[in-house]
Symmetry: C2
Subunit: 161 residues, 2 copies
């Protein structure tokens, strides 16, 4: 029962510094360990037109990123999720969920569902956006488009053959 | 620099279980201590038609509530604030701000201001709403109207002379 358990969920591919910051924020506050909900290929692809890297590659990327940013030696677990609700509705042992400023209001709905199921409501932890060199947010979509690299550096328009 | 410093701001009067939960959430995550930004009477009254209890009473209520809910023995400081921006724009030593689900999106603007001033962005901690007996949120406004008590119990329509 030691400490606060924090969940974070996403597709994490291509992995970038925004993801590293989400994971670092979860680790910072998760003194009871963290749970990373990683979308299955089917679930991740359903909401996107771009290709998503395969689950195994994304899982390996998450593990490497955690190694890199975990200053606290927290426990962690990576779980496959195939619906929006998978982690937060089903797991009574989670205390808090890492969200972005724009998804934070969804916590009210999540908590309504949890209360109906007799679970305690989740706290939210809002990780700040990580900005690219041009002051816009880093996103996997921008990386997939070839606009920026995983650290937010702007790439040349001219792409190599 | 000893852990995470968490700020929470508000009017805290009449004090209720929603406030106790905000303070408890700040204390839970604030292993480097908490700062409570308490609105001055002028600032608090400017946005309200109802009477707000005087600053000294509200400060005493916050101190008593912290004593009651602090399971961790955190350091705390109560500061007077007389603008929305007072704590979060001015204090570079704060790591995180406790917000409600509805005010969480304001963190993006706060952090834009902080970045412009060369400060690191704040994390947010979203405390779940605390519900009254009727399933609606506890609020100081409802208490001032005589609808509920500070713990969210519904009060009789008939008021004593």
């Amino acid at each position: 029962m030691g400490g606060t358990r924090v969940a974070v969920a996403g597709t994490f591919g291509p992995l970038h510094d925004g993801h590293r910051n989400l994971l670092r924020t979860a680790l910072k506050y998760g003194d009871g360990g963290i749970v990373v909900g990683l979308t299955t290929d089917t679930f991740a692809q359903a909401s996107r037109t771009r290709d998503v890297p395969p689950f195994g590659d994304r899982a390996a990327g998450v593990e490497a990123a955690i190694d890199e940013v975990d200053e606290w030696g927290r426990e962690h677990e990576v779980r496959a999720i195939d619906s929006e609700a998978d982690i937060v509705d089903a797991d009574p042992d989670i205390d808090a969920l890492v969200v972005s400023p724009e998804t934070a209001p969804e916590l009210a709905d999540i908590n309504e569902t949890r209360r109906e199921q007799g679970m305690v409501p989740l706290e939210g932890i809002v990780a700040p956006y990580v900005l690219a060199e041009d002051g816009e947010r880093i996103s996997s979509t921008r990386i997939a488009r070839g606009e920026i690299d995983e650290h937010g550096a702007l790439l040349d328009d001219a792409s190599d053959g």
